[in-house]
C-alpha cells in the first residue's frame, strides 16, 4: 500500500465506560415495571440518561425481537438509555441486535454511587454535567417521514435511509446502506463531525449547520462511497478509497 502521508480522518481506540446493569429476575411483565417505577421514584434524576446494560441471565422470555423492542421502548420512555445486553441466550442476543442493542461480554463490578434515596448533590451535578457519549444504532430501514435523533453521539444506520427521512446526530453519521434522505451531523456545532455513507444519493447533508443539497453535490459523488467533513468552514465531500 502506498503511503500518502495524509492524516487519517479518524482514530480507533478502545475505551471503557461505566454502565449501570439492570438484572432481570423473571419476565418483563407488569410487576417488573411497577417495581422499576417504584425504584425510579426514589431517585428520579440518578438514572436519567445513564447508560444501561440489561443482564438477561435470570430473565425469562424476551427472546423475540418484538419483546425486546417493547422492553427497550418501555425503558426508554422512562428516560433509561439502554445500550446493550449481557448473559443472554442466542435468541435473546439476536433479538437485542435487532432492537439496536449490543450483546456485551465481561464487565467488572464497581460501586454504584448515590444509588440510595439521598442522592449526593455533587454527584448528581457531575452526572448531568458530563456529556457521556451514547451512539444510536439503527438496523431497520429508515423510512420516508421518519426522523432519528442521536442527541448524545454518533448515529449508525446499518440499512438504507429513504428519501424524505431525516438523520440528526450530535456526532458522526454512518450509513451502511444507501443514503437517500437527509443527514445532519454535528448539530450542536461540532465541526469535527463527519458523515460516512456507502452510496450517496442524499437530498441534503449538513455538518454543524453548513449544508449541501443534492444539486450542490453534483453527479461526481452520486451513488459513491463518500465521507463529508468540514475544512475551514467549507463542507467537503470526498470518495472513500
Amino acid at each position: 500500500m502506498q503511503h500518502t502521508g495524509r492524516v487519517m480522518p479518524f482514530q480507533i481506540r478502545g475505551r471503557s465506560f461505566t454502565a449501570i446493569v439492570l438484572e432481570l429476575t423473571g419476565a418483563a411483565d407488569g410487576e417488573f415495571y411497577a417495581a422499576l417505577d417504584e425504584k425510579l421514584k426514589q431517585a428520579p434524576h440518578f438514572f436519567m440518561n445513564a447508560p444501561f446494560v440489561l443482564d438477561l441471565d435470570k430473565a425469562t422470555g424476551i427472546a423475540r425481537s418484538g419483546d425486546m423492542m417493547g422492553l427497550v421502548r418501555e425503558l426508554r420512555s422512562r428516560k433509561l438509555s439502554v445500550i446493550g445486553v449481557q448473559n443472554g441466550t442466542f435468541e435473546q442476543n439476536t433479538a437485542a441486535l435487532s432492537a439496536g442493542l449490543a450483546p456485551l461480554q465481561g464487565g467488572r463490578e464497581v460501586r454504584v454511587e448515590g444509588e440510595n434515596a439521598e442522592v449526593d448533590e455533587a454527584f448528581e451535578e457531575e452526572i448531568s454535567g458530563s456529556e457521556e457519549a451514547a451512539a444510536v444504532l439503527v438496523t431497520e430501514p429508515v423510512r420516508s417521514g421518519q426522523r432519528i435523533f442521536a442527541d448524545r453521539g454518533d448515529l449508525v444506520v446499518v440499512s438504507s435511509v429513504s428519501s424524505g427521512a431525516e438523520l440528526i446526530a450530535q456526532g458522526n453519521i454512518h450509513v451502511y446502506g444507501s443514503l437517500r434522505g437527509r443527514a445532519l451531523a454535528g448539530v450542536n456545532g461540532d465541526a469535527r463531525a463527519r458523515i460516512f455513507c456507502q452510496s450517496l444519493e442524499a437530498e441534503l447533508i449538513a455538518i454543524a449547520g453548513l449544508y449541501k443539497t443534492s444539486d450542490d453535490l453534483g453527479p461526481d459523488f452520486e451513488r459513491k462511497r463518500v465521507q463529508a467533513y468540514l475544512e475551514d468552514d467549507v463542507l467537503r465531500v470526498e470518495l472513500l478509497k
Binding site: 418484538g66 430501514p141 417521514g145
Partner: protein, 271 residues
C-alpha cells in the same frame, strides 16, 4: 381465527380498492371465508367495484355506532359464496371511525372468517390509521413511479410504528409489495421504474406485479373482480399474488414487453 390484511398505499389512485376486491375474491375462490371492509368513509367505492352497491342497506359506521347488527350490514357476494362485503358510509367522514368500534367489529368477524381484508383510504390520517391499526399483514400497493414509491415507504414507516402489533412490541406487521399498473414496454423505454428499483428502495418482499391492463378498468366498471376474468393477465397475476399471500411459493412470471405482430404494427394499434 382470521388473519387481518390491510391493503394500503399512502398515495391515492394506485389501485388499492381494485386490489382489495381482487384479493378478497381470490381468497374466496380458494375456498377461504373472506370479508372485505371498506375503510374509505365518505368515498364509498369497494361495494361498486364488487358490484353489490344496489344491495347495501346498513354499513360499517352503522355497526360501529350500534345502529345496526353486523349481519345486517354484511353483503354476501352473489358469485362467490365465501365472499362478504362490509360497505362503508358515503355520508359520514373518517371521524366516525373509532378505535374501539373498529376493534369490536373485527373481533366479531375474526371467529367466523379466515381472512379480513381492510381497504384503506389514501393518506396517512385517521382512516388509513384505523385500517392498518389491527392488521397482521399488509399489502402495500405501489405504482412504478417515484411519488407512489415514496408514499409507500412512508406507509411502511407507519406500519412499523403505529399499529397495535408495534405498540405492543409483538411480531411486526408483515408487509409485502404489490406493484400495480406495471407496463413492461414503458419500463424498457425508461419511463417507469423497474421492479428491482422499487424493491431496492422499499426493501420488502414482493407479493406480485400486476401488469397494466384494459381488463382492470373494464372489470371495475362491470362491478366484477378482475380475478373472475380468466382471460386477463392482471387477473392471473392477482391470483398468483393471492396464493403467495396464503403462503404458497409461486414463481414470479417473467414480465417482458408484449411484442406486436407485423399486422398490428401495420395497423398501428395494440391488441
Amino acid at each position: 381465527m382470521a388473519r387481518i390484511i390491510v391493503v394500503t398505499s399512502g398515495k391515492g389512485g394506485v389501485g388499492k380498492t381494485t386490489s382489495t376486491a381482487a384479493i378478497g375474491a381470490g381468497l374466496a375462490m380458494s375456498g377461504k371465508k373472506t370479508v372485505v371492509i371498506d375503510f374509505d368513509v365518505g368515498l364509498r367505492n369497494l361495494d361498486m367495484i364488487l358490484g353489490c352497491e344496489r344491495r347495501v342497506v346498513f354499513d360499517f359506521i352503522n355497526v360501529i355506532h350500534g345502529e345496526a347488527k353486523l349481519h345486517q350490514a354484511l353483503v354476501k357476494d352473489k358469485r362467490l359464496e365465501n365472499l362478504a362485503v362490509l360497505p362503508t358510509s358515503q355520508t359520514r367522514d373518517k371521524d366516525a371511525l373509532t378505535r374501539d368500534g373498529v376493534e369490536k367489529v373485527l373481533d366479531q368477524l375474526r371467529d367466523e372468517y379466515d381472512y379480513i381484508v381492510c381497504d384503506s383510504p389514501a393518506g396517512i390520517e385517521r382512516g388509513a390509521h384505523m385500517a392498518m391499526y389491527y392488521a397482521d399483514d399488509a399489502v402495500v400497493v405501489s405504482n412504478p413511479e417515484v411519488s407512489s414509491v415514496r408514499d409507500s415507504d412512508r406507509i411502511l414507516g407507519l406500519l412499523s410504528s403505529k399499529t397495535r402489533r408495534a405498540e405492543r412490541g409483538e411480531e411486526p406487521v408483515k408487509a409485502q409489495l404489490l406493484l400495480a399498473r406495471y407496463d413492461p414496454a414503458r419500463v424498457e423505454k425508461g419511463e417507469m421504474l423497474k421492479v428491482d428499483d422499487v424493491l431496492e428502495i422499499l426493501a420488502i418482499p414482493l407479493l406480485g406485479v400486476i401488469p397494466e391492463s384494459q381488463s382492470v378498468l373494464k372489470a371495475s366498471n362491470l362491478g366484477m373482480p378482475v380475478v373472475l376474468d380468466e382471460s386477463s393477465n392482471a387477473g392471473k397475476a392477482y391470483l398468483d399474488a393471492v396464493k403467495r399471500l396464503m403462503g404458497e411459493q409461486i414463481e414470479h412470471r417473467v414480465l417482458a414487453p408484449e411484442r406486436r405482430s407485423f399486422f398490428q404494427r401495420l395497423l398501428g394499434r395494440t391488441a
